[in-house]
């Protein structure tokens, strides 16, 4: 069976409106991918960046999949939350990215968005907190209908991927146009 190793790091987030942010992340795959080792969901540290730099999460990734087919390639999905001085958490963005299919080192920047409520909700969230959240979080990474959703863009998540692919050549799967 072909094997896929996803190594790398969720480096951090930048350009988010609030500063003290953390990230809940998870990996979603199709049925062809079977987890062998590794952790596929978690939550990062809360970072308070010094001055206006990017918030550093430095969350290492090391996941090992066995693949029966190449459809349903893994995706990484994120929820960015901010934490205030009273340890209250508030949503800051949703986003997802595909795990790249080219072996080696790839840096991915994942832009994030947030649902925008009605004007009344926006005024109330400005004063008391509590931005509108998604009821069904799977729409972040599933290709269903998102047309009715009004959103605003928030920040960018930086992810470093390192992919190691084993035995794919044996089944004739190619990941670049170079001659093998």
């Amino acid at each position: 069976m072909a094997e896929l190793h996803v190594l790398g790091q969720i480096v951090g987030g930048s350009h988010f409106q609030r500063k003290n942010i953390f990230c809940k992340w998870g990996v979603e795959t199709g049925q062809n991918f079977e987890l062998v080792e590794g952790i596929t969901e978690g939550q990062t540290q809360v970072d308070h960046p010094f001055e206006d730099e990017m918030a550093v999460w430095a969350q290492p990734l090391d996941i090992h999949f066995a693949c029966r087919g190449i459809t349903g390639w893994p995706k990484l999905h994120f929820q960015v939350w901010s934490q205030d001085v009273h340890s209250r958490n508030d949503i800051c963005g949703y986003g997802f990215c595909h795990v790249p299919t080219s072996p080696g080192l790839v840096t991915v920047e994942c832009p994030c968005w947030l649902p925008e409520g009605t004007e009344l909700q926006q005024v109330s969230s400005y004063f008391v907190g509590g931005a509108p959240r998604l009821k069904h979080e799977d729409i972040v990474y599933s290709p269903g209908d998102r047309f009715r959703l009004m959103t605003k863009s928030t920040g960018v998540i930086h992810v470093h991927f390192q992919l190691v692919l084993k035995n794919f050549e044996k089944y004739g799967v190619r990941f670049s146009s170079e001659e093998a």
Binding site: E37, H48, E53, H64, G104, H160, V164, F168
Partner: protein, 193 residues
Amino acid sequence: MAERDEEPTAFSVVVNGQIELAEIQGSKSGYCKFLVTHGEDWQVLDGLEEGVTHLSKRAPGVDTSFVWNFPINVAYRSTNIFGWPQVVLSVYDVDNLGRDVILGYGSAHIPSAPGTYNLKIRLYKPLASSLLQHLTSWISRVQPEFVDPKFPTQTEGREVVRAQSSGHAIVTVNVMTRVSGHNLFACGVTRGL
């Protein structure tokens, strides 16, 4: 490729590199303890997995970096990619009483494809988790640290950490890989043979 893949393929990874420098705002000097961690299926063939650099003061002027230029040479052998080595840096300063003060932790995977890389590792330090600890650390001038220096390489348990990031370190690494037997890995483990 007549053989089935029941037989695990052994490969070796040779890492030659150096910890070049760090830039941390508000710090005048620092030294770096480094560790290279690896998973269960990995064994060290040669070299040292940990070390401590000298205490470096930054030069007067606009350049805010302190230079270590410290070599890392380690070679591994493994049959499983899982647990690929990660380098952990812990940057400390020495205060007026001769105590070590943490300036930042950082970690990164060693690149999995052969080649020369310049890694920029962002640094962060943990903050006190309660107001009382914050107060005692302010009075005693002792900063909170991770009990386990390998903690930055772990995926679990990160949600309880409150950290402050500042600065970065630059590490240059040269990675060579060697696969004995078959050409089964696409990544780089096979390329560059």
